[in-house]
């Protein structure tokens, strides 16, 4: 399967593509073989040996970590997983840096564009974004290498495809489609006039809204200027009208009650808890009565300390330091504290987009504005 071409997508030389293909194969082996295979080592060898010795199972994720650290399977596969993570961005980054001037030029807005692009050079980048390169992606989502820069947007667009070995679909939009399906199924009467995607990145989760709700005005915001520049160019090239602006989802410049739907995908688990609360509060301000906020997350609590440790693999190995706080958050309470009526809280689930049978269902939560 190939990533769907668009004018903002980086090209690759023969060898660049070969290295990217290797990254995909390595990620695939880690994700579908080494990572799940750890269950066999743990439940068949490590856990029985521990129980035989101590007469009880490990009591905490920390104790599980000490136990799994005794196994080269865990040490070796974890370092390979980490190396794969670094290699994806370095491999794709080198290719993009080579052609950055061309990509920047291709991304410049044109008079005939369907959608719009608004930048805010004065936007202060929050410290939690500037200080931590999420996914160990150097420069994170916002760093600019040049004027009119799209580097980080192009890097995430191509990098995610390589990282997920195409599993999110030719447009990397599987999760965006899942979100739109949740809303259409759960709220069949909802006819949103305006939709906001918070933390839109290259627009993987923005454009499906327009496809599912063609009459709506669809907006995507991101603190990273390279993200919204790239997202705009990508949307134009794919022929989809969307409006992108460089903004912080915790305090936007949209008026009160401007949207009927405020959504966010794979963003909140990268945010410290005070920021998550601010995002909920801003969503509440932005929604018109009857409008819906939709977020991903809200998994049920996990009892097995081994499963707890394994589900925090990205937190431990790929620079997701805030994911633990997000997982521990009491979502219904936090949503109510942001102003939503407690009885208007809801949850939803969808089948995983990729790695079906291995990943748990995608979980959603949200609330309806009174």
């Amino acid at each position: 399967m190939f990533q769907e071409p668009h004018a903002a997508l980086p090209s690759a030389t023969h060898d660049e593509l070969a290295r990217q293909d290797f990254c995909s194969s390595l990620r695939k082996m880690f994700t579908t073989d080494l990572f799940p295979g750890a269950n066999d080592v743990y439940y068949r060898q490590l856990l029985p040996a521990f129980e035989a010795r101590y007469g009880r199972p490990p009591a905490s994720p920390q104790e599980v970590k000490r136990l799994t650290d005794s196994s080269f399977y865990f040490r070796g596969s974890d370092v390979v997983g980490r190396a794969a993570q670094e290699l994806v961005w370095d491999t794709v980054g080198e290719s993009i840096e080579r052609q950055l001037d061309t990509l920047n030029g291709n991304a410049r807005p044109r008079p005939a564009d369907r959608g719009t692009l608004r930048l805010n050079p004065d936007l202060e980048i929050p410290r939690y974004i500037d200080a931590v390169d999420i996914h160990v992606m150097p420069g994170n989502f916002h760093t600019e290498l040049s004027d009119d820069d799209v580097y980080a947007g192009a890097l995430y667009d191509r990098g995610v495809y390589v990282f997920a070995f195409g599993g999110l679909g030719p447009r990397n939009d599987g999760l965006g489609v899942a979100q739109a399906e949740v809303i259409r199924e759960r709220f069949p009467e909802l006819k949103p006039r305006r939709i906001l995607d918070v933390g839109c990145g290259p627009g993987f989760t923005t454009l499906p809204w327009k496809e599912y709700f063609p009459d709506a005005e669809v907006h995507g915001i991101d603190v990273g200027a390279p993200q919204v520049r790239h997202a705009h160019a990508r949307a134009e090239s794919l022929g989809i009208a969307a409006h992108f602006s460089q903004q912080d989802g915790a305090h936007t410049d949209f008026p009160d009650g401007h949207f009927d739907l405020v959504a966010s995908m794979l963003v909140t688990h990268e945010c410290p808890v005070p920021v998550i609360r601010a995002l909920f509060k801003e969503a509440h301000r932005l929604l018109a009565p009857g409008g819906v906020m939709l977020m991903d997350g809200g998994m049920p609590p996990i009892d097995d300390p081994f499963v707890q440790m394994r589900t925090s693999w990205f937190g431990m190995n790929a620079n997701e330091p805030f994911s633990g706080g997000f997982k521990a958050l009491d979502y219904p309470k936090a949503v109510a504290e942001a102003g939503f009526a407690p009885e208007r809280y809801f949850t939803a689930e969808r089948e995983p987009v990729y790695l079906k049978g291995q990943l748990p269902p995608i979980s959603f939560f949200g609330a309806i504005r009174d």
Binding site: T13, H14, D15, A18, R19, D21, F22, C23, S25, L26, K28, M29, D33, L34, G37, A38, D40, V41, R44, Q45, L46, A49, F50, R53, Y54, E63, R66, L67, D69, S70, S71, F72, Y73, G76, S77, V79, V80, R82, A83, A84, E86, L87, D90, T91
Partner: protein
């Protein structure tokens, strides 16, 4: 005739008369110890990157073969322009997976032992506490 043997080993160094083979180690102070325990993690990152280079090189060789199979001279431009068809793409993917399985065997052998119900050939350290 040695000329007929492909990849013939080089002739042995001449050691007749007063010649002795060159010494390949240096007298004097021992080689310093460079690496520290944490460096192994970095070495693994370098090792994985090197696997990527080997894989890319193999893809380039495969492109040469594909071009020659099709009667095209593997010029730089032809290599750059080449796009594998679906069957060749699938075959390359399988080759990469097979290479990874071979190279990473030292990691996966512990799982194979677990699946076979064998004790792993390593000592597990004390881990409670």
């Amino acid at each position: 005739m040695a000329d007929d043997i492909p990849f013939a080993a080089p002739p042995p160094a001449q050691t007749d008369g007063a010649r002795r083979p060159r010494r390949r180690w240096a007298r004097g102070v021992d080689r310093p110890a460079y690496l520290q325990p944490g460096d192994l993690d970095r070495m693994m990152v370098m090792f994985v990157a090197l696997m990527s280079e080997v894989s890319a090189l193999r893809a380039r060789v495969d492109t040469h073969e594909a071009l020659l199979d099709g009667g095209t001279s593997p010029s730089t431009a032809a290599v750059e322009a080449y796009v594998p068809d679906d069957a060749r793409g699938v075959a390359r993917d399988a080759q990469r997976q097979a290479m990874l399985s071979r190279v990473l065997r030292a990691i996966t052998e512990e799982r194979e032992a677990a699946l076979d119900g064998r004790k792993p050939e390593i000592a597990h350290v004390d881990h409670a506490g």
